[in-house]
């Protein structure tokens, strides 16, 4: 079974880390990640940019673009995509396409700060 592990933390706290502290945390995490990667058990790992860089597409008809992260509480996180786009407009186009295929709910679009591909057997 594959499991997704979603990372939550106080953005203010993480955002105020010094570069050295940040690097130290990433260093410690990478030790854990390497162990998993060596066992071919690690999938993609993404670090997202802060929620201030988020945009939300409400999959209404017509779809509505809202600045900021997804803030509703009546919907739950059911999945995610990582797509390569030229810019935010490109990402919104993809989201609109997906939204037409599956209306209702919302997509939160967050730029990915860093991505490692992991080592899962294909």
């Amino acid at each position: 079974m594959l499991y997704a592990i979603l990372c939550y933390h106080d953005e203010d706290t993480v955002g105020s880390w010094t570069a050295e502290h940040d690097a130290a945390v990433i260093g410690k995490l990478s030790v854990v990640q390497k162990k998993l990667a060596d066992q071919r058990r690690l999938g993609p790992v993404a670090r997202l940019l802060p929620t201030t860089s988020a945009t939300t597409l409400r999959k209404d008809d017509p779809p509505l673009v809202i600045d900021g992260p997804f803030a509703e509480t009546k919907e739950q996180l059911l999945g995610f995509y990582v797509v390569d786009c030229e810019n935010l407009d490109g990402a919104l186009d993809v989201a609109r396409d997906l939204g037409r295929a599956n209306p209702g709910g919302a997509y939160e679009i967050r730029p990915v700060g860093s991505l490692t591909h992991g080592s899962l057997p294909t």
Binding site: G15, T52, L88
Partner: protein, 401 residues
């Protein structure tokens, strides 16, 4: 043992939080500032002996408040704090609760402080000046230098602006859309500014200018590790090791400016962020899109005319059309910028590119005389050395013939 450098850093970083809380408490900026100063003095006395408090900001708020209350009591027994009813709405009247929240709700206080500084009734130049003075604790001299006015004139502006702040504070809770600005002077201030900008952006998620501001701060601060060499000398953008640029900050800045542009409501911060983005995107200096930068500075000149903008545009022009055109562009500003370091630095550089070395030397000498920091002076001296080096072989050749 608590060393002085540590205390200094702690006081600086606690300043916005502590001042914000004290301002909320006293509703008078002068009292709050004085209280903060007094608390700092106490800190310098007691921290080295007793060790640092667990939470310096909370300590400063508590001590500052107590000292100021003592002072107020001593000075004037009749004069009470302003009447709660007259100056406050219901939310603020729950001051006891608010007090208890001091420890956890710094963010609101800092934003409140920022909003006071940025109230739209204050002219823009005053907004920034007051924000710098209050939030970042810069000296009047530093601010005056950044705004090209005399210290006396700036002091006057700050005083005028401050006089209106007490009144403005009362209507703060109505909530105002405002844009904040703090200059990037030193790293802790930059980080504080970025933090505040992010806070502001989270409160006003759809304001493209706040996105632009945040992007601008991030993109500029991303270059900080490359801006000075190991000797502390200033490194020009063209000469910077771009591998040292902070790619995380750049990614965030680019994402934010991208997001801002979708609103099609341009503004000075967005334009400046777009310029910074073009620099950030250039892997090598020669990849820089100077034509686009020239256009953006042109737009900025229309939005926010200032000799400094024109000076920056001249650098872009020198890359696109050559130093002659750049020089022609800045010459008319000479009378206004006769005390401005960067004017003479740029002028000297353009003259040097044109091979007018004697004139360049005069401009560089003037720049050194006006330099605000040793790093600035050292940078100009480097140009001068280069001039001397370049002219030396010519002289010897002349001598030998």
């Amino acid at each position: 043992m608590t060393d002085v450098a540590w205390i200094d850093t702690a006081l600086t970083s606690a300043r916005p939080q502590a001042l914000g809380a004290l301002l909320r408490y006293f509703r008078n900026l002068d009292t709050a500032e004085e209280a903060f100063q007094n608390a700092c003095l106490r800190a310098l006395k007691t921290w080295p002996q007793n060790g640092p408090p667990r939470d310096p900001a909370a300590w400063l708020i508590m001590v500052g408040r107590n000292v100021a209350i003592d002072d107020i009591r001593r000075r004037n027994k009749q004069e009470a704090l302003p009447d709660e009813e007259a100056i406050s709405d219901t939310e603020d009247a729950e001051s006891e609760i608010a007090e208890r929240l001091d420890g956890s709700h710094y963010r609101d206080d800092i934003l409140r402080l920022l909003f006071i500084c940025c109230h739209r009734d204050l002219p823009a130049t005053q907004q920034i000046a007051v924000a710098l003075r209050i939030v970042s604790g810069l000296s009047v001299r530093q601010i005056a230098r950044a705004f090209l006015v005399s210290e006396a004139a700036m002091e006057q502006r700050i005083t005028r602006a401050k006089a209106r702040i007490a009144m403005i504070y009362l209507i703060f809770n109505e909530g105002y859309s405002a844009s904040g600005d703090t200059a990037e002077i030193r790293a802790p201030l930059c980080e504080e500014a970025i933090r505040l900008a992010r806070l502001l952006l989270r409160l006003f998620q759809t304001e493209p200018e706040i996105m632009g501001l945040t992007a601008l701060l991030l993109l500029q601060h991303a270059r900080a590790p490359a801006r000075f060499d190991s000797d502390g000398a200033f490194v020009l953008l063209d000469d910077q090791d771009r591998g040292l640029w902070n790619q995380n900050m750049i990614a965030e800045g680019l994402a934010l400016i991208d997001k801002a542009m979708r609103h099609r409501r341009s503004g000075p911060y967005q334009v400046q962020a777009a310029i910074a983005a073009l620099h950030a995107r250039a892997g090598r200096p020669e990849d820089t899109d100077w034509v686009q930068i020239d256009l953006l500075y042109g737009a900025l000149e229309v939005m926010q005319p200032s000799p400094v903008v024109t000076l920056n545009r001249a650098v872009a022009v020198s890359k696109v059309k050559g130093p002659e055109a750049a020089l022609a562009m800045i010459e008319p500003m000479a009378p206004r910028l006769s005390n401005y370091f960067h004017f003479f630095g740029a002028k000297g550089a353009f003259l040097m590119q044109l091979g007018r070395n004697d004139e360049a030397r005069v401009a560089f000498d003037r720049a050194i005389a006006l330099a605000n920091t040793t790093a600035e002076a050292a940078h100009i001296r480097m140009h001068l050395d280069r001039l001397i080096r370049d002219s030396a072989p010519q002289t010897s050749r002349k001598a030998s013939t």
